[in-house]
Amino acid sequence: MIWISRKKDGGWAVWFASSEISDLEKLPGQLRGVLANPDFSSKVIARLFPQAYRDDPEREAEFQRLLRDDLLQRKLEGVAAFERTLANRKETRKLLGFSLVQVDLTGEELTLWMGFFHDMRLLIGTRLDITDESWQQEIDPRDPRAGEFNLLHKLAYIEETVIQALRKAEKWD
């Protein structure tokens, strides 16, 4: 579960159940591991670093030469921001029997979280070869991929909550 609320100073308060923290803490290392020595022939990295010119190898190479490093830095920044802010969490009250932790974020940090969760879902979803069909289906709990599949759904819920919070801040709804 996740709750997000706007604070009076314009920042954000994000709450998670304490029991979820250990799963969340494992995420940054996974993405950083993939980004540390990016293998550009792997499908995960290909998804995280998309092509710009599909039919023009020369322009594609030039585009990537100029921009790939920026994109990598941007992703690493998201990983670092998530890790740093999650580490600064504070234990807070109990709600309906749940022990909660609170993470305080600036608007910029919440946007970085959105990007981080999106990248995490691209990483896991690509690894699982997710399709429109398989995304809709239930997975057999005995399937060895069930853990990652459920994590993908859980992160979708978190990402969706972040998106809705940011939409409200933009006054789009």
């Binding site: 998804r47 995280l48 670093f49 998309p50 092509q51 710009a52 010119y53 599909r54 039919d55 020369e58 322009r59 030039e62 585009f63 100029l66 921009l67 920026d70 994109l71 941007r74 959105m114 990007g115 999106h118 990248d119 879902r121 691209l122 979803g125 690509t126 997710i130 399709t131 429109d132 398989s134 995304w135 993908l152 979708a156 990402e159 969706e160 998106i163 809705q164 940011l166 939409r167 933009e170 789009w172 709804d173």
Partner: protein
């Protein structure tokens, strides 16, 4: 015509989009009008920024990005997102190449699969 209008490499070439047609010395300008227009149209043809479908990305995320990056309203952003979803791709902007590359890099920054291709 020997002049090259399509730069091999657009980067660092400040004149990539506004290339002037240069008539060969001594040639009457009037004669160059027709080929000029024809050749120039290839260089000046705008570029489409295309976003591709991807089963992992949330629909609401795509709408968010289109609104944030292009300033589209919710209706337009949603219509484009649904086009991506149902047709596999959607042209989200038609602009000059420099601007198109900027949009593609921003879309990549948001983790969307975006490409650029010339119209026509």
């Amino acid at each position: 015509m020997g002049a090259e209008y399509e730069p091999r490499n657009g980067y660092g070439n400040g004149n990539a989009y506004g290339s002037e047609f240069h008539a060969a010395p001594g040639q009457a300008p009037a004669r160059t009008v027709e080929p000029d227009t024809e050749e120039k149209s290839k260089v000046d043809r705008p570029w489409n920024v295309v976003v591709w479908n991807d089963p992992i990305t949330l629909m609401s995320y795509v709408v968010f990005v289109f609104q944030k990056l292009f300033g589209y309203n919710r209706e337009k952003a949603t219509r484009l997102m649904l086009e991506v979803h149902h047709q596999g791709r959607s042209v989200v902007a038609t602009v000059d190449r420099e601007k198109g590359e900027y949009y593609v890099s921003r879309l990549h920054g948001f983790g969307l699969q975006a490409t650029i291709e010339q119209t026509g």
